[in-house]
Symmetry: C2
Subunit: 349 residues, 2 copies
């Protein structure tokens, strides 16, 4: 067998595996006939036949005489249906980001895709996460070689980068973070919904003078308005995580009656930092009720009395990978946004 | 050009890229002549010539007339020197594990290797992490196809699995965790060193009745002995993370004078859980001095007064990938262990 034929057989094997994945086939499912596959994959019948034989030798397919060819092992690690890039966030910024990266890769693997992490060396320690695509040269190189079928991103992309991806008809999905995100595809948490749920929980807990602890960013000004309308409370803004210590100090200097009697904090690490600072500066004398947005799979232990607005990172990753694969198969330029469901739970850790 | 020739050229390209990585070549370095490469790579001179031309077209090499061929871009994403598997730990178990997974992948990429994460769906929610290799079928499949050059593992491997890897002469490196680990290659944190450093810090902080909070495992019995010898204190064992709440309760029931006046805790998440439980049950009335082993890159905010024994996850990953690559290039069956340096810092978060 010459190398030339070998190469076409390899391609046929790859396309058959992709077909198996695309159909969501399970162990024991019957493979379509070589004739059907040949038409569908636009490959010679002999090539398809050789590829099927090879996949039998590798234990991925199983032939039963006079019955047909069946799928022996739909999990075919190393065989790849699509190659998907993962643009990860700043590695150290939050345990949530890291957990998310791993779940996204896990779900890509589960769907038979190879996930290539584009390492964040270039964006590390950058505060501006814009233009992250050009900082990840690897992404552009792979796209221009036609070796990347889709992109998952934990970072917000600049308009220029979004245009670039759209020009190349590469579907990309923003995974995680608070809504809205202008990405082609996105799975997000609704900030208004978090604000509404949080406001209600604080009211139910009897808080009369609650505050929302949120970053000083345009995205949050609307949420702050909503919070004020629902609870009568105000938004306490911070610029960096390092501000939280002095913010705690400032609040502790207020007369006890003027201090907020509850906090809505849409970031679990911020909640940890802020309450730890309160305790280090003042013991447990002032630990108001907290409502915290946090990933269900990795609840950080919390020293104060708290409720959690939970979302599932596993579900987030599952939906993001699903949405992306759908668009790889049938590209549509329309924006699609999935709002992740939330639920209220007690932080029992 | 027939497919057959194309395939050999592809192989030559791959081997040249691997050669560039192996030599740690930088931008502007001169490529050895086609004759030298042909001998070294055991490939025809014409094939090497074609591969070099191709790599020039792709912008990886740069020819200067009458001078030679130079390396234009030693970072060649998508081109791969080695394919390395990553066997990750239980995803939810600790933020440290996740950070580690990401740094390991990052360093593999930095060294021009493709890192394939073997997803832990099979080991998730398993308490026994033994036999993890057979649970990750993908690893065996890739090894048997000759497509895996080395393995990074965050899990301890059973003797059977270690034998299997050694039989196939696949170098594997255990990254992270407390020493000793029986892996072929390992980068670990020395538990005796942590115990010595922690005991000294507790003494310097004036603790007279300190305790060590550690899992009930054989690995820790020697450390407990050492801790007792150095401080006169005892080891408080726990079996699961869910024990920590009742452990806090038990200690709070002791008369204040009988309670430990300091803790050595070789796990940052355990420290968080334990101190959060103390605060929730008793406010800030009893928050003894804590010495905590924690990753420098991701210090969790801590409510009590604490010192940190720091290690660098970045350094851990860098050394593990370095050790593995060295052994891929020159396989040696001898065990090699690197002890990661530690330093003492104040937890300033």
């Amino acid at each position: 067998m010459s190398d030339g034929i070998g190469k076409r057989t390899e391609l046929a094997k790859e396309l058959i595996v992709r077909e198996i994945w695309n159909r969501g086939a399970k162990q024991g499912d019957r493979l379509p006939s070589c004739g059907t596959l040949s038409k569908k994959l636009n490959l010679g019948r002999a090539t398809v036949f050789r590829a099927v034989k090879k996949l039998q030798e590798e234990g991925i397919l199983l032939a039963r005489d006079r019955v047909g060819v069946f799928i022996a092992d739909p999990k075919t690690p190393g065989r790849v249906s699509y190659q998907i890039g993962l643009l990860i966030g700043n590695m150290n910024s939050s345990p949530f980001n890291n957990l998310m990266s791993i779940y996204l890769q896990n779900h890509c693997n589960d769907k038979g895709c190879r996930c290539l992490m584009f390492h964040p060396a270039h964006v590390l320690h950058q505060t501006a996460l814009e233009d992250s695509l050009s900082a990840h040269l690897g992404v552009r190189q792979q796209i221009e070689r036609g070796e990347l079928h889709g992109l998952l991103t934990q970072l917000s992309l600049s308009e220029e980068n979004r245009d670039y991806l759209e020009k190349h008809r590469i579907p990309y999905c923003f995974a995680g973070g608070l809504s809205p995100n202008p990405a082609h595809l996105s799975v997000v948490i609704s900030l208004p919904e978090v604000t509404r749920m949080g406001s209600r929980r604080l009211s139910l807990a009897g808080c009369r003078n609650p505050s929302m602890l949120a970053p000083e960013a345009e995205q949050f000004s609307e949420a702050a308005e909503l919070f004020k309308k629902m609870t009568g409370g105000t938004c306490v803004p911070y610029q960096n995580l390092s501000d939280l210590g002095s913010l705690a100090q400032k609040i502790l200097r207020l007369p006890p009656k003027k201090r907020p009697d509850g906090f809505l904090i849409p970031d679990d690490l911020v909640a940890q930092l802020f309450y730890s600072a309160l305790i280090r500066q003042n013991g447990s004398g002032y630990l108001p009720h907290a409502v915290i947005l946090a990933p269900a799979e990795q609840l950080l232990p919390f020293p104060g009395e708290s409720e959690v607005i939970e979302f599932s990172v596993m579900e987030l990753a599952r939906r993001a990978v699903g949405l992306l694969l759908e668009n790889i198969r049938n590209y549509s330029p329309e924006r699609q946004e999935i709002i992740l469901p939330l639920k209220v739970g007690k932080n029992v850790l």
